[in-house]
């Protein structure tokens, strides 16, 4: 009896649901959708990448825009978050990720037109906080149990370890009492379509091995007692992962990210990003006041480069051929074709802050406050 009834009513419900969803303004849906506004194309955009022929840019207020005509016109994608998106990465022409504040991660499977919330940072952070509490409890219990069986000098070491573990437990408990604060994600990088990393403030590090269907909390594996920000992430051809951090530190992960090492570059300030040259495997950490450091040996030794700018650098890109572009404050844009030995300034119009750069087909596209535009000088132009 019920079956025919069910058949007849289902399309009706579908039609009703469709009607309701059409009647509602697009931003009133359950998810925190970004407002679709004509001004999005001229808002603060923070990163740009190419997905095949298409350009995709992310920015403040959950803005994601794409252009199929080399930046001449931009379409705002419907995005199920309205927080600031800081960086994006495309593994190929179709699959890409955007990360941002609230620890949110979005994924697109069609080259940036449609986006899904892959990681809801607030709820995931609540889970991470619980895990952290559980881990701290376990450590304390283990240490107490061990301490009960030991005495003497070994016990003294254990006692100190226990004190530390108890402090960590207090911190973890405190976190559970406060409103959940997922630190903002500042960078994302994928080795291929499945294996990737997302890094962020206060030592946040996330790892996925299945295209982001599951993001594991990985920050606790990195020895980072001061909770320095991870402002950039990249990897080289030999499987090493690099995190750009503060106080001149670059963190290097080896063995698939199982072991981590803090590298001192000799710099004292902050790096805002890190880049590898696909042609040479050199690593470049860039940041405050035009600073660029290079390592040609996988992070062991670093040299400061003459970037020819004193503006803070916030974005960088490398072409397959090994041309490197760095952009930043006050329309700063510098280019190197010799793996960083020398730089020359590119003419960028205006005096706005630049945040990201993408190189496609010999043209450069930058993002910044006021949207996205093509950079006047092509990297292949005569030296």
């Amino acid at each position: 009896m019920s079956k025919p009834f069910g058949h007849s009513i289902r399309p009706l419900i579908a039609v009703l649901a469709l009607g309701v969803s059409l009647a509602l303004p697009q931003y009133a849906a359950a998810a925190d959708y970004a407002l679709l506004t004509p001004g999005a194309a001229h808002s603060l955009l923070l990163d740009i990448a190419s997905a095949g022929e298409r350009l995709v840019a992310v920015g403040e207020r959950g803005h994601i825009l794409y252009s199929d005509d080399q930046g001449a016109s931009w379409v705002q994608a419907k995005v199920p978050t309205s927080v600031m998106l800081t960086r994006l990465w495309f593994a190929d022409a179709r699959r890409g990720w955007a990360v941002g504040h609230d620890g949110n991660i979005l994924v697109s499977e069609d080259g940036g037109v449609h986006w899904e919330l892959q990681r809801d940072g607030v709820s995931d952070q609540a889970r991470i906080n619980e895990e952290r509490l559980a881990r701290a409890r376990e450590t304390v219990q283990t240490l107490r149990a061990e301490l009960a069986q030991q005495a003497g000098e070994a016990a003294q070491d254990k006692l100190e370890a226990l004190e530390e573990a108890e402090y960590e437990l207090d911190v973890a408990r405190e976190l559970m009492r406060e409103p959940v604060f997922p630190p903002p994600l500042m960078a994302v990088w994928f080795a291929d379509r499945e294996r990737g990393w997302a890094a962020g403030a206060f030592g946040t590090l996330l790892r996925t091995r299945n295209g982001g269907r599951h993001w594991e909390d990985w920050g606790w594996k990195v020895e980072n007692p001061d909770e320095l920000h991870f402002n950039g992430v990249t990897g080289d051809s030999r499987g090493r992962i690099y995190l750009a951090s503060e106080w001149g530190y670059v963190f290097r992960g080896t063995n698939g990210g199982e072991s981590w090492q803090a590298l001192e570059t000799g710099y004292e300030g902050s790096f805002f990003g890190v880049l590898t040259n696909p042609a040479t495997d050199s690593v470049f950490a860039y940041g405050l006041r035009g600073t660029i450091y290079r390592s040609t040996d996988g992070g062991d030794d670093w040299q400061e480069l003459e970037s020819r700018t004193r503006a803070s650098l916030f974005g960088a890109a490398a072409t397959e051929e090994g041309a490197l572009v760095f952009v930043g404050q006050d329309s700063a844009a510098v280019l190197s074709r010799d793996d960083g030995d020398s730089f020359r300034e590119l003419a960028a119009p205006g005096r706005r802050g630049l945040t990201g750069v993408a190189a496609t087909d010999g043209r450069l596209f930058v993002t910044g406050d006021g949207g996205s535009e093509a950079l006047a000088v092509a990297p292949r132009a005569g030296e």
Partner: protein, 800 residues
């Protein structure tokens, strides 16, 4: 005594009560009015200019009420002045310019009313540059501490400016001018005294503009206090207009009467009405504002035109075998009903202005109504009494006579309007005129349409300065402020400030909004600054502590002390009604969509917010006024003539003028605004006079059995001159306003002149045509009473 002597005149037996009262106590009346003049003249002497801003606002409008609710916090934002010092040759990077700038800032510092602590120029130590370094922030004043005017320190200034963020706000993009920001106390913080805007504005002109402007330095000053000063300055020009108007009226009167006595008597009576009106205004506790200062002109014009009717009537009587007193009595008798009707309809027309919830307009209505009451006393009572003493010279009587033997060529011509063919054409032309008026009025807009300060002319110094500053700096002077109410200490809570931020972005995307500024912007920028200028932090963190740090930097112009009110300041492209309505609608949509019990978005403050409220009020009031004025005037006409035909004949020409006036406004680009609202009431209230006088005479002669054209000719020959004179007298009274430096006074002058003159034409041309079709021929039995009617016209008008 005097009353006894002329008993043999038959007229005295038929005298009405008012006539007996007035002419029975002529001495008393003279004495009474002399005393009244002394007393009210003394009152008028103490009349103060009233620059009250509150009276310009529709106080009952929800926007204004919201604004008043938060006035204390809004006032903290304060009034301010921008003084731009521009250099013609070269740029600002030279020692001469910078030292002049310093001198100007020093000079402004000492002008009373300036908030000395807030004064900001390039020289202020708190105009700083900042730079993020590895060690933290590096900062300093933009003009280096060791500035010595050398090329090196000028170069240092240039570098510092690039790092300072004041380019576009304090320094023009082309480096050819800089702005001195001058916050103003509108009430003195120690004495609580209201700032004298006029003195303040003059001090600026004298001590700043005159002293420092040279062939290389130009000074531009804008800001609310300066605007008020300019308006008060402009009001002063009205005294010149008053003199001109008086002179022209005098000439007109003399041309009309050719007699000094007949010129001075109505002029004196009308001036007395003006003095009484001003005295009564002060007595009732009013001041003179930019609108009500126009009322004396109207009173003078209306007074003179009614006075001329009276003089005309007396002169006509003096042609017969009567003395001055008798002539005055007969003139009074023939005119007082029509005169009262006309004046009372004027007064009631003005009283309708009280329905408009804008102080200055209500006061205009009150002042004008008082004025009309004064005219009734001066020109219907005092004037005939006065004339009964002084009389009119033979020359004057001869000039104003009606010679039954000679046909007046002009009146013969105009009387053809009452012939069938001309009447038909006239009615068709009138119908076409209505069509033109209604079609033209469809382009009519609400609100002020010109850029800059709409109160002043587009080419006024203030508006040129305004154009310079808005053109060279990233500032808009059309500002709409949305008040965001939250619980106490709630404006900075993450969810609330996020909504405020979203509102700002939502509004920035509304066409017509250039930019939106709120506390959320300050918090976002602080977050970026505290994170080494990294733009990836330029957002609102979910971490409440990070937000609180930013909230500490929010200036009082964007947030009140206990964080229960945030202000979102919207800078608009212009203040067209369309733009304002779009912005207001968008804000209300957002409030309905997202407003919570915690966060409510309340419209509206700022000059554009006030204008939006005013526009909404005006759009409603415009219709109300039309309906009321016409309803009241039609009812009055009906009551006095007991005839719907009379109402039609008198009202239809008025309606034509109103319709055409709307078309004229659309054509001239004058929007419906505060200043044009009273025009309808004044135009119709005063314009109805012509119709009443002409219709009165016309039916008088029709009753005597004359055919239409002849009756109209007779009507014209007795009252036509007076009607034409009235038209010109009224026109003269208001046309001088057209030269006012205050734009809305000029608009009112143009429109009222148009209405007064066109109403006269309508009465002379269209009224007889309508009468031809509408008035039925009188039955012959009326002839019997014609003899009596000849004594005085009031017999056919309801005497009550």
């Amino acid at each position: 005594m005097l009353e006894q002597q002329p008993l043999h005149y038959p007229a005295v037996r038929t005298a009405s009560v008012p006539e007996r009262l007035i002419f029975g106590a002529r001495h008393f009346i003279l004495a009474f009015f002399t005393l009244a003049t002394v007393f009210l003249g003394w009152q008028a002497w103490h009349l103060q200019p009233d620059a009250s801003f509150a009276k310009l606002l529709p106080q009952q409008h929800p926007f204004i009420q919201n604004m008043n609710d938060h006035m204390k916090d809004l006032r903290a934002a304060g009034a301010s002045l921008k003084v731009s010092v521009a250099v013609k040759r070269g740029d600002i990077f030279n020692d001469d310019y910078l030292s002049t700038l310093g001198q100007i800032a020093d000079e402004i510092f000492y002008i009373p009313g300036v908030n000395k602590n807030g004064l900001k120029s390039l020289w202020s130590p708190d105009v700083r540059w900042t730079m993020v370094t590895e060690e933290g922030f590096e900062m300093g004043s933009v003009i280096p501490q060791d500035y010595d005017g050398s090329p090196a320190s000028l170069q240092q200034l240039r570098t510092n400016l690039q790092r300072s963020g004041v380019i576009g706000s304090m320094v023009a993009d082309d480096f050819k001018s800089t702005i001195i920001e001058v916050p103003i106390y509108d009430t003195d913080p120690t004495t609580g005294e209201q700032l004298n805007y006029l003195a303040f504005s003059r001090a600026l002109e004298k001590q700043v503009r005159q002293q420092f402007e040279s062939d290389n330095i130009r000074i531009h000053i804008i800001g609310f206090p300066k605007l008020i000063g300019e308006l008060l300055e402009g009001i002063g020009a009205i005294f010149l207009f008053a003199a001109v108007t008086l002179l022209i009226t005098c000439v007109l009167l003399y041309v009309y009467t050719r007699d000094l006595r007949a010129t001075l008597a109505p002029l004196t009576c009308s001036l007395l009405a003006v003095i009484w009106q001003l005295g009564l205004l002060h007595l009732f506790g009013f001041g003179l504002n930019a609108y009500s200062i126009l009322v004396p002109f109207l009173v003078l014009a209306i007074g003179v035109s009614h006075g001329v009717q009276m003089i005309n009537a007396v002169a006509l009587q003096l042609q017969g075998e009567v003395d001055r007193l008798q002539a005055s009595r007969l003139a009074f008798r023939s005119l007082y009903i029509a005169g009262m009707t006309a004046l009372i309809s004027d007064g009631i027309g003005f009283i309708t202005l009280l329905v408009i919830d804008i102080g200055v307009i209500s006061e205009l209505g009150i002042a004008a109504s008082i004025g009309v009451a004064c005219i009734i006393c001066s020109n219907l009572v005092l004037l005939p009494v006065l004339v009964s003493y002084i009389g009119i010279s033979k020359k004057g009587v001869y000039h104003m006579r009606v010679d039954p033997q000679r046909r007046h060529p002009l009146w013969s011509l105009i009387s053809r309007c009452a012939t069938p063919k001309v009447a038909l054409v006239s009615v068709l032309v009138a119908a076409a005129g209505y069509a033109v008026g209604i079609a033209g009025a469809r382009n009519l807009q609400v609100g002020d349409l010109d850029a800059g300060a709409p109160e002043l002319r587009p080419d006024s110094r203030y508006n040129l300065d305004n154009a310079f500053i808005t053109g060279n700096y990233a500032v808009s002077t059309d500002i709409l402020v949305v008040m965001v109410e939250t619980p106490v200490q709630g404006c900075g809570l993450f969810e609330n400030i996020r909504l405020i931020d979203r509102f700002g972005w939502y509004m920035e995307n509304v066409p017509g909004v250039q930019s939106a500024v709120s506390m959320a912007d300050v918090v976002r920028l602080t977050a970026m600054a505290l994170n080494e200028g990294n733009p990836r932090w330029q957002t609102l963190s979910r971490d409440q502590r990070a937000i609180d740090g930013g909230v500490a930097n929010v200036p009082p112009a964007l947030m009140n002390r206990d964080c229960s009110l945030a202000l979102v300041v919207l800078f608009l492209d212009d203040h067209k009604a369309e733009t304002l309505q779009r912005v207001v609608d968008a804000a209300q949509t957002f409030e309905e969509e997202y407003g919570t019990d915690q966060v409510r978005f309340k419209l509206a403050a700022g000059n554009a917010g006030i204008e939006a409220a005013t526009n909404q009020e005006i759009a409603v009031a415009q219709t109300q006024i039309l309906v009321l004025v016409y309803g009241v005037v039609a009812a009055l006409v009906f009551l006095s003539f007991r005839s719907s035909v009379a109402s039609a004949c008198i009202i239809i020409p008025l309606g034509l003028t109103s319709a055409l006036c709307h078309a004229l406004m659309a054509w001239l680009g004058i929007g419906i605004k505060v200043a044009t609202l009273p025009v309808v009431a004044l135009g119709v209230g005063v314009g109805v006079d012509y119709g009443i006088y002409i219709y009165n005479r016309l039916t008088h002669y029709l009753r005597r059995g004359l055919p239409m054209q002849e009756a109209y000719y007779q009507a014209l020959s007795t009252t036509g001159r007076a009607v034409a004179f009235t038209g010109f007298a009224l026109g003269v009274g208001v046309i001088t306003w057209a030269f006012s430096p205050i734009k809305f006074q000029a608009d009112m002058g143009i429109l009222l002149t148009f209405m007064f003159l066109l109403n006269m034409v309508g009465a002379l041309w269209l009224l007889p045509a309508l009468a031809y079709f509408l008035v039925k021929p009188e039955p012959p039995r009326k002839r019997e009473s014609a003899g009596e009617a000849e004594q005085g016209d009031h017999s056919h008008v309801q005497t009550g």
